[in-house]
Amino acid sequence: MQLGRVIGRVWATVKDQGLEGQRLLFVEPVTPDLRSAGKPIICADCTGAGAGEIVYWCRGRESSFAFLPAEVPTDATIVAILDELHAGGESHRC
């Protein structure tokens, strides 16, 4: 899974039926010290994450397993909202 920060939201009226009711969030990958680490991607979300929150997301086929038994056509899903990050002897509250 990868760390990221929620930076936006995408709305689409016309979409695959499996995406109905799903929130689609823009997530910017970040390093453990919360610096940008690449280009943003769009994630489905099973946690209720909101603007600015630090999360980690799962990629690939297994990211759709978050919604079983519903079949959601996603390739990236937010699976956790972080409270704290402990890295290199330092702790960040998220």
């Binding site: 899974m1 990868q2 799962c58 297994e62 909202i81 972080l82 402990h86 890295a87």
Partner: protein, 89 residues
């Protein structure tokens, strides 16, 4: 699989139920010379690894889910071994 170094832990209260009661480790994938290989990632812990350990990291869903005993879950990477030694021929 990749070699990685455990550099920390990600603590989350709100998360998918399949990630409950499982440590989420922050790991830095490594090249053979020990230099960083890409950015650190989050991996569930299947072997009770700790900070500083050099570990075996799987970055594929089926093996990651199997190693932590949670089938059909949104898990794409796991720490599945603690490396004692690497020798090259």
């Amino acid at each position: 699989m990749l070699i990685a170094r455990v550099i920390g832990e990600a603590v989350a209260t709100r998360k998918h139920s399949s990630h409950e009661a499982c440590k989420a480790l922050l790991v830095q994938p490594l090249d053979l010379d020990g230099s960083p290989r890409g950015v650190p990632v989050v991996a569930l812990d299947a072997v009770d690894a700790g900070a500083g350990d050099r570990v075996l990291l799987t970055a594929e869903g089926f093996s990651a889910m199997t190693s932590v005993g949670r089938a059909n879950s949104p898990i794409d990477s796991a720490v599945i071994g603690v490396i004692d030694e690497v020798s090259l021929f």
